[in-house]
Structures are given as C-alpha cells and as structure tokens.
C-alpha cells in the first residue's frame, strides 16, 4: 500500500509499504478514505520531536471503512464507516475509566522512553514518534487500529468525510481547549493561534457560552476565518497584543486564555530570536512565546488553557505572575474518546459544520507537497485533507 513516510527534517516520501495485519485481538484494519495533516505533524516534520525513525508513517487524523476485525472486537463489523481518535486507549485502565483517554496506561509499549522524558508516559498515538508508542500512522491506504472496541466511532452515511473527519483530533482538541476555560455566560476568551485547532476553539467557546472571543494570529487567511467564526482579531505583527487586549477588556484582561499554538511559537522581535537560538542549541526544546503572553494578559484569577503541543522544556516561564495572580493552568492532549459522541451529535444537529476549516483536498501522493504548503502557509492553506483513493492534482476547496 501507499503511505506517507518521514525520512528526516522536512523530508517526506510517499512509499510502497506492506499492508497492516491484525496483531492484537482487539485490533481492526481500516481502509482509509480521508486523512488530514495536523499542525502537530509539523513538529515532527520540522524535527522538533525526538525518537523519530526513518521510515515512520505519519498521520493521526483519519477515517475509513472497517475491512478486518480481531476476534475480540464485537462492536464493529466489516463495512462499518468509522472515525478513529488519535489517542490509542484500552478502556480498562485507571485513566481510561476516568475518561482520561490520552493518559491510557496500556497503549504505549515504549512507555519507558516517555518516562525518561516526561517522568510518566502518556497514551500511545498513531504516527507520532516512538515516544508515543511507535504506531504506524494514518497517512496511508490502510491502518491497524488497536483497541478498536474502544476508540473508533461509527458515523452516519449522510454526513460527508469532511464533516466528520475532524472528530479524530482537531474538533475535540479545540473543544477541550475551550471547555478547560470553564466558561460562564458573559465571559471573554482570548485565543492565541488561529490554525485549525484555534478555529475550533473559537467556535467551541461560543457554543459553550462565551460572549466575546478575541483571536490572535499573523496569517491574514486565518484571521479572516476567525472573524467568520464570530471572533474579534488581533494581528500580532501589527499590534501590541497586551495593549490591545487591555483596551478591549477595560484593563482587566480576558477571563481565560487558550494557547492553541504550542512549542513552535513565532513572535516579533528579540524574544523570538532568543527562544529560537536556545532551541537550536538544545538549551530549551520549545518556544513558549504564546504561553508567556497568555499568562501576562489573563485577568487575575483566570484560567490558562494549554492545548497547543509542547514537547520538552521551556524557560523564562512567568511563574510569579501565575502564583501571585491566582491563575489556574489546565492542559493535556485531548481525551478525544470522551468528546466524539457529543460532538457528532452537535454536527448532526447542525450546530456546527467542521468542514469550514478545509482549504485543500489532495491525493495522498501529494502529501509531501502538502506538508510544505501547510508549513509555509502557501496558497492560503489552513487545513489539508488527503485522499488515498484520489488520483491527479490537488483541488482547492475554498
């Protein structure tokens, strides 16, 4: 089968690889109809996540048709159309039973690597380095899905792939980012990063009762999409974020701030150079500019929701601001399985149509070009969906 494989920093190749087999009895094999490139795939693409191996198949946002099931999988049958959540979760351990699926204790066979890096290991994730298990990803024609009796959710035929695909990651992730803000009616929420996850955070914040959402980015297309979602926007290249936010909130600051950026933040001027140099010298692994700014801007007693991905260590962290102003930091990889059913219900009710975020639909063969396009924000690119079954050139949707 064809699969999109990582061969080093910014080197992707679509290769012919063996088809997956059932290895555990709770596995299913899914024939992939649609798969997406995630912002967090760019951290792998840019070489910022350790424990990658040449030839690893990437991709953790995918859906398709069940073509084979292990003998312990009784809830799915061949032919079912399913969306697969990115965390691999057993459903049996302490954390799964607390609905904290991205912390599953049994799905990461390389837990020892993560323990060295993080102290304790998170769950396995498809196509996301060996630190999170070393599972082949979903940017391929087929994928083996462990714990298929827990993760995949059946989706109705009348909804298109583009409407339900993002239940695999970015819709629940953006939603959890907003949910962690504990939004009360009348709240003002500021969101750093208007990439695909940020776009879902904006819409989720409104769904959860926010009165005002302020979105921060520098890419015009993303800011425009944020405005279409009802947000007011700040272009951080043109305006001082802190000053504008204070002006908009009467000097008090937003009730909660969401970091939808993560470890590869950009910022104007010296602070970016400082973090970029330290990152290049491996003195810190992540560039936490958005997080620092979110902390400084948040109102006293407010909530900092960190849903953007961090991989390692940061410095110049304004802990004094957090402590003295009674801030709460909430964070985590999304517990996707917890959100899939309620969010699918919202899609079916017509409360939200996630396909708004798609700017490009391409053949799987075009994946390397897609990564380059997404990384460099070329051609108005915000979200790329790859179709293993599609031949020919890519197709601009919006």
């Amino acid at each position: 089968m064809k699969a999109n494989c990582w061969y080093g920093k910014t080197i992707m190749r679509v290769e012919d690889v063996p088809e997956p087999q059932i290895l555990n009895q709770r596995d299913a094999i899914v024939k992939i109809s649609s798969t997406a490139i995630c912002g967090s795939d760019l951290h792998l693409y840019n070489g910022f996540i350790p424990t990658m191996q040449r030839g690893d198949i990437l991709g953790h946002e995918f859906m398709g048709e069940v073509v084979e099931v292990g003998r312990e999988v009784t809830n799915l049958k061949i032919g079912d159309r399913v969306v697969v959540p990115f965390p691999i979760s057993c459903g049996n351990c302490f954390f799964c039973q607390q609905q904290m699926f991205s912390l599953c204790e049994n799905s990461n066979p390389n837990a020892w690597m993560a323990e060295k890096m993080f102290g304790h290991a998170p769950a396995g994730i498809f196509g996301y380095s060996h630190l999170t298990g070393g599972y082949a990803g979903g940017q391929a024609e087929y994928a083996r899905v462990p714990f298929a009796d827990v993760g995949p959710i059946k989706v109705p035929e009348h909804l298109s792939d583009e409407q339900v695909l993002f239940l695999s990651d970015i819709f629940p992730t953006g939603y959890m980012g907003a949910e962690m803000c504990d939004i009360k009616p009348g709240d003002t929420i500021a969101i750093w990063g208007c990439g695909p996850v940020g776009q879902f955070s904006i819409r989720s914040a409104f769904l959860l009762g926010a009165e005002k959402v302020i979105a921060i980015d520098q890419v015009p297309e993303r800011l425009q999409m944020a405005e279409q979602g009802g947000a007011e926007t700040i272009n951080y290249l043109e305006q001082n974020v802190y000053e504008v936010l204070m002006e908009m909130t009467g000097g008090r600051g937003p009730d909660a701030c969401i970091d939808d950026v993560g470890m590869e933040a950009h910022a104007p001027g010296l602070i970016f150079a400082y973090d970029r140099v330290k990152q290049a010298m491996a003195l810190e692994t992540d560039r936490p500019h958005a997080l620092r700014e979110a902390i400084m801007c948040c109102r006293n007693g407010g909530i900092i929701s960190v849903i953007g991905v961090y991989g390692g260590f940061i410095d110049k962290f304004p802990m004094g601001s957090v402590m003295n102003r009674s801030l709460t930091i909430k964070t985590g990889q999304a517990h996707v399985q917890r959100y899939m059913r309620p969010l699918l219900q919202m899609i079916e009710n017509g409360d939200i149509d996630p396909s708004f975020v798609v700017t490009h639909v391409m053949s799987l063969d075009d994946a390397p070009r897609g990564y380059d396009m997404f990384k460099n924000k070329k051609d108005g690119c915000i979200k790329i969906v790859l179709k293993p079954g599609m031949n020919g050139k890519s197709d601009l949707v919006h």
């Binding site: 059932i22 030839g55 049996n92 070393g134």
Partner: protein, 345 residues
C-alpha cells in the same frame, strides 16, 4: 504495612543481602573519591580558565567554549561520584569523558595550527588518567556479584486475582520476555526454561518458599540449578481500592563459565529495564487481555529493537512469531472484566 509479614521482599533485608559480597573495598572507594576531587578540580579550572588549559594542552584558543563545556562535564562526573552510594556510575562517566577528551585531542592534532608536542603531552596525561579510571570503574562494577532488580506497578484488579494469575507460574512467560516456559511440577515445585542467545536455553527447578494468598509469593531455585536465583512478589490493595500494587524483587547469581556468560548476557545488560518492561506487560495481560504491540515494538521494546513505525513484511512477521512476540499467536486472552469494556463509553 505490617512488619511481621513479607520479610523476603523487604528493602532493608534486600540491602543487607547485597552488601555482603558485592560492596567495593575501601581502597577502591578511596580511589573513586580521589578521582571525584580530580574531576571537580579540573572541571573548575576548565570552566574558569579555559585559555590556560588550551595553552597547556596545545589546542587552539578558539576552543575555549568547548573546554568550558568539558569543564561542566567534569564537575558533573565529580558530583555523581560523591552523591551516590555506589560511585561506579560516576567513574564510568569519567571513562566516557576521557574518550571524548582523547577524541578531541586527536582532532586538534590534525589542525593546521596545532602545537603537536604539547598535544602529545596532554594526550599522554589523559591516557594515564583513563587507565586509572578504567581500573577503578571495573573494580567498582565487578565487585558487584549477581543481578538484582526490583520494580513495581499498579494493576486495576483485586489483589486476590492478581495473586492468582502470578501464582500459576505457567503464566509468567506470557509477560517475562526471557522465559520460554515454566512447568508446574506440583508440591510448590516448578521447572523453568529461559531463552539464551543463539537458541541456547538455561534451565532450573524452583520451589516456593513463602505463599500467602493475595499477599506474597517467594521462590528460589533448587541446588544444582544452571543459575542460582530467587524472586519475591508482594501484592497490596491500593488505597481507595484502586487495584493492586505489585512489588517484585528478583536476584540471579550467575555461575562462572559458559552458562554464567550466557546468563549474564540474558539479564546483565539492563536487568532493571527488563523487569520494568516485564511488569508493564504483566499489567497489560491482566487489564487488556494480552501484551500490546506496536509496529515499532514488534521485536521488543528496547532501544535497539525498534523498527520503523510501519507495518512489518512477511519475513519480519515470521521472525516475530518465532520469537513468540506476537500475542495473537500465544493462546487465549486473559478474560477482561465486563464492566471495563470499551462499549461502556
């Protein structure tokens, strides 16, 4: 925890056991300490006066940044030697550092502006210290007979159930990677077969010493075993009834000779890591029904066993099957509890 029970796995007892033959003698310890002070002294000099070091060793003044880094490394080695009860790790880190120094001096030797006489003098000095480090590290490590490891995990099952699974020793090869089979001989006795390199096996008979249902099992090998070994496992109800805390101690005393070397190879490299991995698999079998494998860990979870995260081809699958690494090939799953199934969500 009550003091009258489970004496075998008790940590103080364990420490007493290992201090007998294994502890390095006083003179080696003194040598280690001396090397530790040397590390700190040299490290501070490199950090504060890298120019002087560059001059003495004949390397270019351009490399003072690197010399400062090496100074930090020396200080770290020194601190490791002082801060540990067993200074072997610190001394071995010095050996690794010596290798780095020698490599750097070798590169400096070929530089066009090299002062070769001074570099040769510096190299000779580093070589002398390297020899001392090697002797010291070897003695510190070799004085340590046998292989010990202890590990613990928490399993989302009742202590009685976890105990029951372990008590049937025939289950152990399902999660202990080095074991090929354990046969129950009755009367608390069992026959164990461990896998060796190149198809070799190591065998022994073991007998149960202590057995308190739901609480503790201890066993040890009988006389005339290929390898003298013992193990203890304790089961404690976790606070809040959140399953069972399992604590395992194992000890192997490999004999001299070929079998000893084989055993050392089996358990010697990363015994602690191996036991940790075994317990992780134990938890998987009890909680999810079987050992969980990814594409990368088809041949094992170790650093060097990682495959790329992509499906295996037929040859690799056959190899994994031969290694009995494929869980679906190893009989029926351990039954999952109904309440814990994924369909509940």
């Amino acid at each position: 925890m009550s003091a009258t029970r489970q004496p075998i796995g008790d940590r103080s007892n364990y420490a007493a056991q290992r201090s007998l033959p294994g502890m390095p003698n006083a003179s080696v310890k003194r040598l280690a300490k001396g090397l530790g002070w040397f590390s700190v002294g040299l490290g501070l000099t490199e950090l504060l006066a890298p120019g002087a070091i560059a001059k003495i060793s004949g390397v270019s003044n351009k490399h003072t940044g690197l010399i400062r880094l090496y100074g930090l490394r020396e200080i770290a080695s020194g601190i490791t030697i002082f801060s540990q009860e067993k200074p072997a790790a610190g001394v071995w880190s010095r050996v690794a550092g010596d290798a780095l120094d020698l490599a750097s001096l070798g590169m400096a030797f070929t530089a066009p502006d090299a002062k070769r006489g001074r570099i040769a003098f510096a190299t000779a000095n580093v070589l002398a210290v390297t020899a001392l480090d090697l002797v010291c590290a070897n003695q510190l490590s070799n004085g340590n007979h046998g292989v010990h490891a202890e590990a613990s995990c928490i399993v989302n099952r009742a202590p009685e159930e976890v105990y029951e699974f372990w008590r049937n020793f025939e289950n152990l090869p399902r999660f202990m990677k080095h074991l090929e089979a354990v046969e129950n001989l009755g009367d608390g006795r069992s026959h164990w077969t461990a896998k060796g390199p190149a198809g070799m096996t190591v065998e022994w008979d073991a007998t149960i010493i202590a057995d308190v249902p739901g609480e503790v099992i201890t066993w040890r090998s009988l006389e005339d075993s290929d390898v003298d070994n013992a193990g203890a496992v304790r089961f404690q109800r976790a606070p809040g009834n959140r399953g069972t805390i399992v604590k395992v101690n194992i000890q192997y005393n490999p004999p001299a000779g070929v079998i000893g070397a084989t055993v050392a190879k089996l358990f010697g490299e990363e015994p602690q890591q191996q036991l940790d991995d075994d317990l992780r698999r134990f938890k998987q079998v009890l909680e999810v029904g079987e050992v969980v494998v990814s594409d990368a860990t088809l041949m094992g979870t170790g650093y060097f066993e990682q495959r790329p995260a992509r499906p295996a081809d037929i040859d690799e699958l056959e190899e994994a099957e031969e290694m009995e690494a494929l869980p679906s090939q190893t009989g029926t799953n351990y039954p999952r509890s109904q309440s814990a199934g994924g369909r509940a969500f």
